[in-house]
Amino acid sequence: MSWPRLLVVAMVLVWCLLASPVPTSLRGSGAVLVAFLVATGVVLGQNSQWRVWRRTSQLDERERQARDNAYRLAFRAMGIGIFVLVVTASIADALHGQTRGPLAFADGPRYLIAALLLFGLLPTVILTWPEARSPAESPSSTPSGRLSGISAAMRPALAGLLVLGVWGAALWLVPAGTVRAIVVPSPNLSMSGGTCGAVQISRQLGGGLGAALNISTNICWNGRHAWDGDRSLGPAGKYPFPPVEGNPPTCSLGIDSSDFEPISSESCTEEHYPSGELRIVAQARVSSGIDGWLSRTIRASIAITAKGKVLKGD
């Protein structure tokens, strides 16, 4: 098998890994997979002289026919690919214990990126398969393969590094966004003598393409105190204050979208103030780049008064 075909097989396998419901999390390796796909896409593009992007007038009859065949197949394959992605997103959602079905497709960036890569790479990949050339025949090995002083052999590596760089920059430069949702009364918890609400705070990095740190908990209040409703009650069924040592808060700490950026050192703390206010703070460390040399602390917090007023949620 010629090396372009081997590359195509590798690309298909890597794309399947990206789009597959298993493993449920790529644990930060997603950016590397995307960089690999982009880099190999550049290699195949060079090998095919970027025929799928060129004007018809720049191609001879045989090249034009091959390109048009590739587009016809790519058009059909694109529809099937999207269908497969929606199905795999549903399966992944079910593996997470959720029941959102195809709605999960829009929840994380993994399937969105898989779809965008599918759109961008499909014609080139299909064009490469039937007429894969050996390196000696590849036009990219000719002197015309040099562009702006960058050799053709370097361009795929640069493309891959560019992807990783953009991802790292998004992690560092784009401010973390906050999504907040509070449902009162809580659909999961009710308590006599108090009101409970379901609280969800999500801090997202990289405009949604990075990691997200979620707090999901039930908070109750009775006019004198606010407390973590999921926490077990104290002795004789009393409300859990003051917090007993060794009785940690139960705010379930959800780490989402860690497909593209690994997260470590999560923590969740709970603070009670004399005024009855409750404050829950979660934080985690998000790493990017080689050996985590690009890293950032992401923090989500919420403060609720004894009367149920949300003072802060970021």
Binding site: R72, A74, M78, G79, V86, L103, A106, L116, F119
Partner: protein, 364 residues
């Protein structure tokens, strides 16, 4: 000169049609089996989906010249715009109100697709004959443009909604199980034909030799298309005009002292054929010569259809009362809308009345 091998194209071209038919058929069958026990209706649904798939395959294989009218670019562009408008309408429909409107739009889109396929002499779909150079060039341009147009629209839409915030992201999630995804599937099938119809200049196609078998094939295809389009419309009209099926009334007396007793009354009402609904009123009533009273089966929770296929039902009245003469009466009135032509509505009243002596009165 001919373009690429037609055999190669033909081997792939029908796959989306089969896939779409399987998906729609499975969806309809799943929906039907989960909401009803009509064996015949399920069978009819499967037969209809199979007919649509067969029609699509036959139409794709029969080449017919567009004729003077469909050969005009202006006419073709109007049809393309109608398809685009239908897709936009499908995108704009609320996810919880799809029902019959989508079925109607799909029928309309199927008709438009047949018209466009004929208007373009089917150059964008698989053909049992090689294309000439002009047709091959048109088809290839159509697929190239269609690829980047569909990929561009889908990619841009996904990116914008993903970054626009949680509300837009939720819309994208919902879109995958509602009208926008159906519009995407429609475009994934029809877009190359639409583009060819749009870009092709006014044409005068050379008339192919009209063999006897070709004439018959065109007629069969036309009949199949007409049948595929008309059958659901007729079934929808049937909900409106077919008389309600013979209402059955059964009574089982239980042993009791003279002048009193209990009985189970079952009244079954069926309406429509294929697009149909069945109402079963099952109640137990006792009487003592002074008044009748119900034991079960005359509550608000009994005001619902027991089975339904491709119709939607809305309750307009659900009343139980005991008259001064001791008769207990239960009335359930509902509007039945076929999922196709959902502006049609049939009012159906299901009622039962038992007097103080246990006699089941005939209700109007």
């Amino acid at each position: 000169m001919t373009s690429s091998s037609p055999a190669r194209t033909r081997s792939w071209g029908w796959i989306p049609v089969i896939l779409l038919s399987l998906v729609i058929g499975a969806g309809l069958a799943l929906g039907a089996t989960t909401t009803n026990t009509f064996g015949l209706s399920n069978l009819l649904t499967f037969i209809y989906v199979a007919l649509c798939a067969a029609t699509a395959l036959v139409v794709r294989r029969v080449t017919a010249q567009p004729g003077n009218w469909l050969g005009r670019r202006r006419v073709r562009r109007v049809v393309v715009l109608l398809v685009v408008l239908s897709c936009l309408l499908m995108v704009a429909l609320p996810a919880d109100g799809l029902g019959g409107t989508v079925l109607l739009l799909l029928l309309f889109l199927a008709l438009c697709n047949v018209v466009l396929a004929r208007a373009t002499a089917q150059v964008a779909v698989s053909l049992p004959r090689p294309l000439d150079e002009r047709q091959g060039s048109l088809r290839d341009r159509g697929y190239r443009l269609a690829y980047w147009l569909l990929a561009g629209i889908a990619g841009l839409l996904a990116l914008v909604t993903y970054f626009a915030g949680s509300g837009a992201r939720a819309w994208l999630g919902t879109a995958l199980v509602s009208g926008p995804f159906i519009a995407f599937v429609v475009l994934a099938i029809c877009l190359p034909t639409m583009i060819v119809a749009w870009i092709e200049p006014d044409q005068v196609m050379p008339a192919p030799p009209e063999t006897r078998s070709h004439v018959w094939a065109v007629r069969v295809a036309a009949v199949m298309v007409a049948t595929s389009l008309l059958v659901p419309l007729l079934a929808a009209i049937g909900v409106e005009v077919i008389p309600a099926q013979a209402t059955q009334l059964k009574r089982y007396s239980s042993p009791a002292p003279k002048g009193s007793g209990c009985a189970t009354v079952r009244r079954t009402t069926e309406i429509g054929f294929w697009f149909e609904a069945r109402f079963v009123l099952d109640t137990e009533v006792c009487w003592n010569g002074h008044r009748a009273r119900y034991l079960y089966g005359m509550n608000r929770s009994d005001c619902m259809a027991s089975d339904w296929v491709l119709v939607s039902i809305s309750t307009s009245q659900c009343v139980r009362r005991t008259k001064s003469n001791g008769t207990v009466e239960f009335n359930y009135t509902a509007w039945i809308h076929p999922d196709v032509l959902s502006f049609l509505a049939r009012r159906l009243r299901v009622s039962v009345a038992v007097d103080r002596n246990g006699k089941v009165e005939r209700t109007k």
